[in-house]
């Protein structure tokens, strides 16, 4: 059981046009910049991307969008300090948007990973984001029915990882990572520190390896926030 792959290109192999891809991160924390750039290098088209935000600046998810590779975004907050890439495509009608409340987005992804095809939440009841959704009352209170979210691939950034795919994260960069690992057919993780099997305390494992398919070491990963402040560009 060895899920290590040797290169970023190998890590993102098999992601073809039309694929759905979950991308971890909340703002810049947890954004798997190197995996995203390796994906851009492949130039798949018509991607559906599921991610909390829709990118910032000219790198990472924003660069993926800017390259015209994303047909549809499912996210909660497509705004950022520099949202040009998404905003331009959206206002030009070149990218579709499914807007999902953040907690519902997280729970739908978890449901996808946990085999729960639908659940009820109070969130968004009575708002336009519940339009067309089934409503049911429990104990006298109305709830909205939401469906699971799954994807063909997940791109996640973790802190430590072992060859079996066990993972830990760095502080608030954890965010959507553990959920997306559960919900994709093929989960691809870049780790800052690759350690041997047994190198992570079993008590400290955040994502058990069963949820992970490929692990690639990116020893000094770039941080989206810092790249944007430096006005970096994918090129």
């Amino acid at each position: 059981m060895d899920k290590r792959v040797r290169s970023l290109a190998e890590a993102v192999s098999g992601i073809e046009s039309g694929a759905s891809v979950m991308i971890g991160g909340f703002g810049g924390s947890g954004a798997p910049i190197e995996l995203i750039h390796a994906l851009i290098d492949r130039r798949p088209r018509d991607l559906t991307v599921i991610s909390n935000n829709a990118g910032t600046g000219r790198i990472g998810l924003a660069a993926l969008i800017d390259a015209g590779l994303v047909a549809r975004m499912i996210c909660s907050f497509p705004r950022s300090s520099d949202p040009r890439a998404f905003t331009q495509k959206f206002l030009a009608g070149e990218i579709a948007l499914e807007l999902v409340p953040q907690g519902t987005l997280a729970e739908r992804i978890r449901a996808g990973g946990a085999g729960i095809p639908a659940f009820y939440t109070p969130t968004a009841y009575g708002t336009e984001l519940a339009d067309g959704k089934a409503i049911a009352e429990f104990d006298g209170r109305p709830y909205v029915r939401e469906r699971w979210l799954k994807a063909d691939f997940a791109l996640v950034k973790a802190h430590r990882g072992d060859p079996l795919g066990n993972l830990t994260y760095d502080k608030a960069a954890r965010n959507f990572g553990p959920l997306m690992c559960m919900a994709a057919t093929t989960t691809i993780v870049q780790v800052s520190h690759l350690v041997p099997a047994g190198g992570i305390d079993p008590e400290a494992v955040v994502t058990p390896g069963i949820f992970v398919d490929r692990v690639v070491e990116v020893a000094a990963p770039r941080q989206e926030e810092e790249l944007v402040r430096a006005e970096a560009r994918y090129a």
Binding site: G28, S29, P78, S80, P101, Q102, G103, E226
Partner: protein, 229 residues
């Protein structure tokens, strides 16, 4: 009505935040919305310490770090760098919103475009143009035991923000429990605005005149007195 131009009759945002902070109990679990609500953290009364939650997976974070000492993996929901207090914890987004939706927060504090007398909140979108973005607001308003709004009493163009019925898209239905404005403290109770405190420089009638729905009185109305900030 030129109340906006009379600074002595309205609270600054800092003063609104200060007033809201007085109602947060020691040890309360609190989520502060992005922007204006974040100011509430600065004004915790001496001897009280709330535990702050941020949607992106931290409990018990503290003040911003010194400039240059930011760790961009240690941020709040507004993507601002924070620090940790002793006894902090990290968790993923599903656990974070389990805290929210599951009723584990004592208080959520949000901004508002409009609040209606039955507690409907509109705070995420004002029209059909531009890029819509909702974030965690729709979850927060249905999870916390108390949902506070901090807001100017009037819009910049002088329209009431406390209304009979919201005209902007809703964030949540019947969810707000208390409103702290530049002019008053108002509870939502039984589908009505109930005035609890008003700026002492303002008559009830003057306050009613700048409020878009009837203000009810049910018990004493205190003076909204805050320090210079």
């Amino acid at each position: 009505m030129s109340i906006e131009t009379q600074p002595d009759r309205r609270l600054s945002n800092a003063q609104i935040a200060w007033r809201a902070a007085q109602d947060i109990a020691d040890g309360a679990y609190v989520n502060l919305g992005i922007g204006f609500p974040e100011m509430v953290a600065r004004y915790q009364p001496p001897g009280r310490e709330a535990i702050f939650h941020t949607e992106n997976g931290i409990l018990n974070f503290g003040a911003p770090p010194a400039p240059g000492a930011e760790d961009w993996n240690l941020i709040n929901a507004g993507k601002k760098a924070v620090t940790l207090k002793p006894g902090a914890a990290f968790f993923h987004h599903a656990d974070s919103f389990a805290m929210v939706r599951g009723g584990h927060l004592d208080v959520a504090i949000l901004g508002a475009y409009q609040v209606s007398e039955n507690g409907d909140l509109a705070n995420w979108r004002v029209g059909d143009s531009g890029v819509p973005a909702v974030g965690g607001a729709m979850d927060l308003v249905h999870g916390a035991r108390q949902v506070f709004v901090v807001t100017e009493h009037l819009t910049r163009t002088g329209e009431p923000k406390l209304v009979e019925r919201c005209s902007f898209p809703l964030t949540g239905v019947a969810c707000v429990t208390r409103i702290y404005t530049s002019h008053a403290v108002v509870d939502i109770a039984g589908g009505r605005f109930v005035l609890r405190e008003k700026h002492p420089g303002l008559s009830f009638d003057a306050l009613q005149a700048i409020t878009g729905a009837r203000l009810h009185v049910d018990g004493p109305v205190g003076d909204l007195v805050v320090p210079e900030l």
